[in-house]
Symmetry: C2
Subunit: 325 residues, 2 copies
């Protein structure tokens, strides 16, 4: 099996490469090839004691690859997929380009991994959506979600290396990516805003992708906010179920969910934090409690954190690769 990573020099591409290097799921592959935009062509990247050289891509390469991992923008993913789809490749796309194509499954392996077989193109969800759905899914199975209201606390890494640099390196000078001071500040997500609904693109992704992944027309509302953190996202989540809930049962359900760990120590005030999940595979969930205003005990609040470069992107793609080959 020959694997090509497209956009190999970006934050997600690098994480995917690291996952392939460590290869904890022991995926068998022969050749690994790296592709990126023109400015990176010819650069060497060390991988398992050999140097991989960043290549330019053209339509010929698709016949030489069995798997395409796209860590590219939507526009670039569209161009690559339109050319590559005629070849017998598995394409795993991290961008939003095909997430709502009815023939393209949108996959979080723990939820709907069965959709991977028999499909050549698999879409990897938005970072916040992947973290959110992994926590919602087992609870929805048991109690049936009526409505979700989520407010996010999103890190700089979601805007790539340049966004990260703007927080960490250049924090008191100019702001070409975000257009405003990031350090010691909080601001509405920097994605484009739909002038009709007044929601930004990130919020609409969460709303629409969650329904597709859960395969359920649940009600969901989202507010996406950037906070000055490095690489893990947090989400404050209110869930209203159709049925009465028991907290112990919710804890058990989440405890049994693969990919989720609970951090909910009310005696020591230890709950999920971005720095606790950096470089971790699991989504951390805590602050599990009933909404005191709902006497029927159908509503709860949760707080989660997850590494958006891992389960929110590269790890989820790597898990899809494992199931798809």
């Amino acid at each position: 099996m020959n694997i090509g990573i497209f956009g190999a020099t970006g934050l997600v591409g690098k994480e995917f490469l690291k996952l392939l290097d460590e290869n904890h799921l022991n995926i068998k592959f022969n050749k690994l090839r790296l592709f990126a935009s023109e400015s990176s062509i010819g650069k060497k990247i060390n991988f398992r004691n050999s140097n991989l050289i960043i290549e330019n891509y053209n339509d010929k390469v698709y016949s030489e690859l069995d798997v395409l991992i796209l860590c590219t923008s939507s526009n670039v993913s569209k161009i690559i997929i339109n050319s590559a789809k005629n070849y017998d490749c598995l394409i795993i796309d991290n961008s939003s380009a095909f997430r709502f194509d009815k023939d393209v499954p949108l996959v979080v392996p723990e939820i709907n991994g069965h959709l991977i077989k028999n499909n050549n193109i698999i879409a990897n969800p938005n970072c916040c959506t992947a973290l959110l759905t992994l926590v919602l899914y087992p609870l929805h199975l048991k109690y049936k979600i009526n409505k979700v209201i989520v407010s996010t606390y999103q890190s700089a890494s979601g805007a790539g290396q340049k966004g990260l640099d703007e927080l960490v390196l250049n924090a008191t000078e100019s702001y070409p990516i975000f257009g405003r001071q990031y350090l010691y500040n909080v601001f509405s997500h920097n994605s484009e805003i739909d002038l009709h609904t007044r929601y930004n693109d990130e919020e609409l992704k969460i709303i629409l992708e969650t329904k597709k992944i859960l395969n359920s027309d649940i009600k969901i509302s989202a507010t996406c906010v950037r906070v000055p953190t490095i690489r893990a996202h947090a989400e404050s989540i209110h869930i209203e179920f159709q049925n009465e809930t028991k907290l112990n049962d919710i804890r058990n359900i989440l405890n049994n969910q693969s990919g989720v760990i609970i951090e909910d120590d009310i005696e020591n005030n230890e709950f999920p934090e971005p720095i606790k999940v950096e470089n971790k595979f699991e989504v951390m969930v805590g602050r599990i409690r009933h909404d005191l205003s709902d006497d029927s005990k159908k509503s709860i609040n949760l707080f989660l954190c997850g590494d958006q470069l891992l389960k929110g992107a590269a790890l989820n793609a790597y898990q899809i690769l494992n199931l798809g080959t």
Copy 2:
């Protein structure tokens, strides 16, 4: 009128002193005296070209003062009020000590300022609550709130000078106040957690104080989170009303609310940010939009920012002083 500020060297005390110095409401007063804990006694603080000396306080001073501004902890406020309440003083207490005493009004002047007259003790609300209620109040009058779900993004200054120092000065060393790294991190509010409800004290304050200030048993749920910002808080707010809403009308209502300004520019992605409201009197509100999942248009989302040391504390107390004298 002789005014005494207790806890004059803390963050809120200093802001109150600055407000009295600028005195934009032109409150008439004669003597100003400053009190603080033992470690500050004898220190000089410059006020209008003279030096005020920080004094120790004892039961004698209450007979010499007409107004007591308490910028003290709950425990200290209780001690002072229990001694001072027998004197003919107006006491404005920033702590939570008497906020739920049925004889003590909890006041945001724009909402229930009429309660100040004929009461000697006035409680100043929790910082998040003051900002939140000022936005909820005019909307509740028009559309009747059914339920509010709020997630906060709270700054370091809410934990006083030492909390602020832990973020800004000492960010990579030890963490005596918060017990964890603050810079580049987000964590559940550091107040005590009620082991029965699993809510922290800050969340319970928002829930209970909002009902008292709005004089209405609305449903409300809160999640309080610290983010690495300096002095202004942010809140992501979901409101479900009893009646169908119109966005233009909501904008007009908020635009006409004294103390509120709207920042809601969807074309340029300019919305409320903590750094935009630092040292500002107004609560800034934006991201005003319908919840897309509610076809009845009874639900909206909002995002607000406000200087928690000003409208969230010292400014609100200063406004109470103005109405009470």
